[in-house]
Symmetry: C2
Subunit: 314 residues, 2 copies
């Protein structure tokens, strides 16, 4: 498989590379590292929402509009209930999959592969391949919970949070930690009665945040994706946010997000690797035991483990 084929947008070559990465073939990772340096063209759009918020239908509408504007599109679905993952009712699935025969749309699902923990890295890999293929817009569909969810949110340039009318959904959105990283909020299924309440609730919650001069203040939009309503306005906002990211304020924000993502990954990997090394060793068992017996407080115990781990490092 030649990286050049992928850079030219060849779908077969891209699909094969993705499979090789899955199979952990070392040369595939080298190819990926090489491809990564050719990325940065695509605008990565995260679409986050609980199952049932209609985010797949919304993405379907977005794809249609983007294709009308002659943009090429990649989709990564990480929600196991997404029709893009083949897990939903047949009608939906067939409707979504009409895009699969369009050469300009490349859809991959991670949900059905049973990845856990490494989900964010796999998503990053697939986005890298799609970006290097030259896709203009890459949509990442996720339920946005857990550690993977948070990392995936950091990956996107523009994060769209989808909620629906009805008590508790905006609460869920906040609980998932996506209030902080949402760039555009969408109240979907706006044909439902209390869409305006949800809109007001969301706007109130956003106003609780303190914004500084030059900050992007997330807009809240109403859509009705089943009837293709509000999609143009949403695309306009995505474009507006993309332009914002090109301003000095936006660039700084984007750099901050990248740095946070790196630090988060570093923090997690450092801890995981340390724990994996220590687990089962006498030292680890002794520490846990001392904690249990209240012979040592957790701060002193942690300090002593850290000093041990880092003592040989210059």
């Amino acid at each position: 498989m030649k990286p050049e084929d992928i850079l030219k947008g060849n779908i077969q070559a891209a699909a094969r590379l993705m499979r090789d990465i899955d199979d952990e073939i070392p040369s595939a990772r080298d190819t990926l590292k090489h491809l990564f340096q050719r990325t940065g063209h695509a605008h990565i759009v995260g679409v986050t929402g609980s199952p049932g918020t209609g985010k797949s239908t919304l993405i379907d509408c977005l794809i249609q509009r983007l294709r009308e504007n002659r943009k090429t599109v990649g989709v990564v679905a990480i929600d196991p209930t997404s029709p893009f993952s083949g897990g939903a009712i047949l009608g939906d699935r067939v409707r979504m999959q009409r895009h699969t025969i369009d050469e300009g749309v490349f859809i991959r699902s991670l949900a059905t592969r049973g990845h856990l923990g490494g989900l964010s890295r796999s998503t990053h890999d697939i986005v890298t391949v799609m970006d290097s293929m030259g896709k203009d817009v890459i949509i990442v569909e996720t339920v946005g919970v857990g550690q993977d969810g948070v990392e995936i949110i950091h990956l996107a340039h523009t994060n769209i949070v989808v909620i629906i009318p009805g008590m508790g959904d905006s609460i869920q959105a906040i609980k998932a930690g996506i209030l902080e990283t949402g760039d555009i909020f969408v109240v979907n299924k706006a044909d439902m009665g209390d869409a305006d309440i949800a809109l007001f609730e969301m706007e109130t919650t956003i106003q609780m945040k303190r914004f500084q001069k030059g900050d992007w203040v997330p807009p809240v939009l109403k859509t009705d994706s089943s009837n293709n309503i509000g999609i143009k306005k949403l695309l306009d906002k995505i474009d507006q946010h993309k332009k914002y990211l090109e301003t000095s304020f936006g660039k700084r924000q984007q750099q901050k997000r990248s740095a946070e993502m790196f630090e988060k990954i570093l923090r997690d990997r450092l801890f995981q690797k340390t724990r994996n090394r220590l687990k089962g060793t006498q030292r680890w068992e002794e520490t846990l035991n001392a904690l249990k017996q209240r012979e040592v407080d957790p701060y002193s115990a942690a300090e002593s483990v850290v000093n041990d781990i880092l003592k040989n490092t210059s």
Copy 2:
């Protein structure tokens, strides 16, 4: 200063040790480590809520009842707006401070000392001293946000989350991540009109969680601390939760919480120390630069840093 005096409950000796810890006198930390092994008697109760939820008045009522029941009490206030910290309106402050002339109540405030970052460790230190003094109940008052807030919540045996009627407060509670760790929820200022809505909202939110057999399902209570209403019921629930912690299910839960606290501290300290070591080095600058130039993806960059850091560790 003799540790024996503290173990006997001597307030002057305890206050002096706390001051010495603040001044970072090495022998003080040794004394503290020694005292820690004599702790485990006190029931630690966290009271978390935004400023204005009346949690200080609620604590005031709790102290009064506990004293009537001949229990000795320690209070650690970490909310800068708390009357216990001397930061509030005079009337309140005077009312709270009536307890300060009661030998059975020991109040310390961390809020006015300007500790930042190390707040959770300082709290842990003070709780250790109070516990070793023989206090029956130690109340930790906190606004519960940020990293320190989360660690402090892990320290308590029983966590009370205080909210008041009115939109947004339950949302704030969830945002602060205290839904997961709240053992008892209190809707204070229940004389306000829409207390029942807040009660219902909170109960609905709790029901979203999945409980397993033997799990403690957090009750939601109404109180009106300004008029001393609902306090007995709250104390009963605290007792009930204390008894629950003595069951096998409760013990397991408590052990899980302790292990999580240790892992959280370990994760943070490991990252902080690594970052402090690397910051400013050529290696660190090169990594950040490579990330900026998209020469390397954040996962590969983090992996390479972690391998370097841990390579000399057996």
